[in-house]
């Protein structure tokens, strides 16, 4: 609290700032609320009346279609698998690499760090990377999605910064007692590292869950598509699953169903992250903060 009373003019400015913030919040959650309400509506009613408060305009058909669609369920499970495997791999690789790089006397630290940092500014690009993945026979497999991006220099820097903050004395004491680096890492360092492991895991999981581009270029078989690619078909390419519509002949009914699925698909796919994120907010923020203290 300011110890000095604000002037009248300052109060006006504060009022304007507060109003603007409230308007911004409305502009951000307005579309989200619209999506949720619209997902429960009958498409024809939505089309003719817009959001209505007439209960007879509501229906659960969109959700019924989404939840009985094999492609969506399959995409959800694929995404869960890919994101989990990716998270385990990338977090292990980056935490393991971050630990030695945090030690001042680690011989070769500068060389290895430079090797990593260069890749933040230069890259071969999409096509040469694709050709490497292709020549390794990883195309159309989970490995193309979880291995090439596993080393995140940013995450290594975050892990290194975290390890630097741990007291060094325990380390030295353990060394004198004859513990190997292996024992020290697993019995002393890892138990203390839960916060950083958690932050990195959250970042990795959310990032991979929301990504569609890797799967777009590396996957061919549609049964392997993760949720985001299935959503792309429904939301952007406007294609309804042929299995569902094989019995439907009329064009109008097809259009109606494709509209119906869109809103429910948006809600179903975004809900898990949006519901979880308030609980994890402080960890996400922690990640950004640690990163900025580089």
């Amino acid at each position: 609290m300011d110890s000095i009373k604000p002037t009248k003019m300052d109060k006006v400015v504060l009022g304007v700032i507060f109003t603007l913030l409230v308007l911004l919040v409305v502009a951000i959650i307005g579309p989200l609320i619209y999506m949720v309400v619209a997902s429960f509506m009958e498409p024809t009613a939505l089309l003719n009346k817009g959001l209505s408060f007439d209960l007879s305009d509501y229906s659960l058909e969109g959700y019924r279609m989404i939840l009985s669609d094999d492609k969506i369920i399959g995409g959800f499970l694929n995404a869960l698998l890919y994101s989990s495997v990716f998270t385990v791999i990338t977090v292990s690789v980056c935490v393991f690499a971050g630990y030695p790089l945090a030690l001042d006397d680690f011989v070769g630290r500068k060389v290895i760090m430079t090797l990593f940092i260069i890749t933040m500014f230069f890259g071969g690009g999409l096509i040469p990377t694709y050709l490497v993945v292709k020549s390794l026979g990883m195309l159309d497999t989970i490995w193309a999605l979880v291995i090439p991006g596993a080393v995140s220099v940013w995450n290594i820097i975050l892990a290194r910064t975290f390890f630097r903050g741990l007291p060094k004395e325990m380390n030295e004491a353990a060394k004198i007692d004859g513990a190997s680096d292996f024992t020290i890492f697993f019995s002393i360092i890892i138990p203390l590292s839960k916060p950083i492991v958690f932050v990195l895991a959250l970042y990795a999981f959310v990032g991979h869950w929301n990504d569609f581009f890797q799967s777009l270029i590396y996957l061919e078989n549609q049964d392997k598509y993760p949720l985001q690619l299935v959503l792309r078909r429904i939301l952007i390419l406007n294609k309804v699953d042929p299995n569902i519509v094989s019995s439907i002949k009329e064009q109008a009914e097809l259009a109606r169903l494709s509209e119906l699925m869109k809103y429910a698909a948006i809600v179903v796919s975004s809900l898990p992250l949006l519901v979880m994120y308030p609980f994890f907010q402080k960890y996400f923020e922690k990640g950004v903060m640690v990163g900025s203290l580089k």
Partner: protein, 300 residues
């Protein structure tokens, strides 16, 4: 010798970094070497080494292509407008949030502001298609105010505003975190002293808060400039369609089309390499300017 002994005694440490080093060499450095295909006629059968050299042939083809200028200007305009419009928003947001004194209230506002960051880009573009469709809610409003429905997602002229504004909608809140954190470091005594001297709220924001976060702003603008040509390829690929391609065709969508839909690897790699070079030039130019304005502090 001493170094060798260190390595021998601490071999576990080297095994710990090994996976990251190996993966980096395979997936980051091999592709850098693979860029050579931009100067060759790559054939999968002959491999990178065995393919025939063609020099700058692919680059010349790109520069002489009828859509070269369009691609270049679309890319530059989309990203420069995006930067000019989008960059200040998180800063302003952070300065405003900083005035919310009640911690709980601030937390709640932030909770909402960050939310769109957790929605995937596919869903955000999907929402655009739904909200801005000819029969969607936005056009209902347009009609209600006496206008004709507009085809936001297929008219080329709406591509840029839709792309940039939805980007701000999704990312501004999250990007403001770093400035909010920097502002937390401002000494409250400074504000008190300035208030005693008769400084108004706006004057204090301008002369105390803003200078405090200036170094952070400098770093963020350099990072943003380095990515100017790379920015948002994913989203452009989602929003691109035959109808709006006059404006929506940018280098990243072009690389994707040529490379993956036509399997023209060498040409696509050449276009991408051109893009990377421009990015680096942008990075160094902006870094140079920022250093000048920011008393010698840049990042490169």
């Amino acid at each position: 010798m001493e170094k060798l002994r260190y390595i021998k005694n601490n071999y576990w440490l080297y095994l710990f970094v090994l996976p990251a080093v190996v993966l980096t060499i395979i997936f980051k450095y091999l592709p850098m070497y693979g860029v050579l295909i931009a100067f060759k006629d790559y054939s999968f059968r002959k491999g990178i080494l065995g393919s025939d050299w063609v020099g700058f042939h692919h680059f010349e083809r790109f520069f002489n292509a009828p859509n070269f200028e369009q691609l270049l200007f679309n890319t530059l305009q989309l990203n420069i407008y995006g930067l000019l419009l989008g960059f200040p928003v998180p800063i302003i947001l952070a300065l405003m949030l900083n005035q919310v004194r009640k911690a709980a209230m601030k937390k709640n506002i932030q909770l909402f502001l960050y939310a769109p960051n957790f929605i995937s880009v596919v869903v955000v573009v999907g929402m655009l298609f739904v909200l801005f469709s000819p029969t969607g809610p936005v056009n209902k409003l347009v009609v209600a105010f006496g206008g004709m429905p507009l085809s936001f997602m297929s008219e080329p002229e709406y591509f840029r505003p839709m792309y940039i504004l939805s980007g701000i909608w999704q990312g501004a809140g999250w990007s403001s975190i770093i400035y909010v954190a920097a502002l937390a470091g401002v000494d409250p005594e400074l504000h008190n002293a300035a208030t005693l001297d008769g400084a108004s709220l706006l004057q204090r924001i301008r002369h105390i808060d803003l200078p405090t976060i200036r170094p952070v702003i400098a770093i963020m603008i350099i990072l943003a400039a380095g990515g100017i040509m790379a920015g948002g390829g994913d989203k452009a690929i989602l929003m691109w369609n035959e109808m709006n391609m006059e404006k929506s065709d940018v280098i990243s969508t072009y690389v994707y089309r040529i490379g993956f839909q036509q399997a023209n690897y060498s040409f696509s790699a050449a276009v991408e390499l051109f893009n990377t070079v421009i990015n680096l030039i942008m990075l160094f130019t902006v870094n140079f300017i920022v250093k000048r304005v920011n008393d010698g502090d840049g990042i490169v």
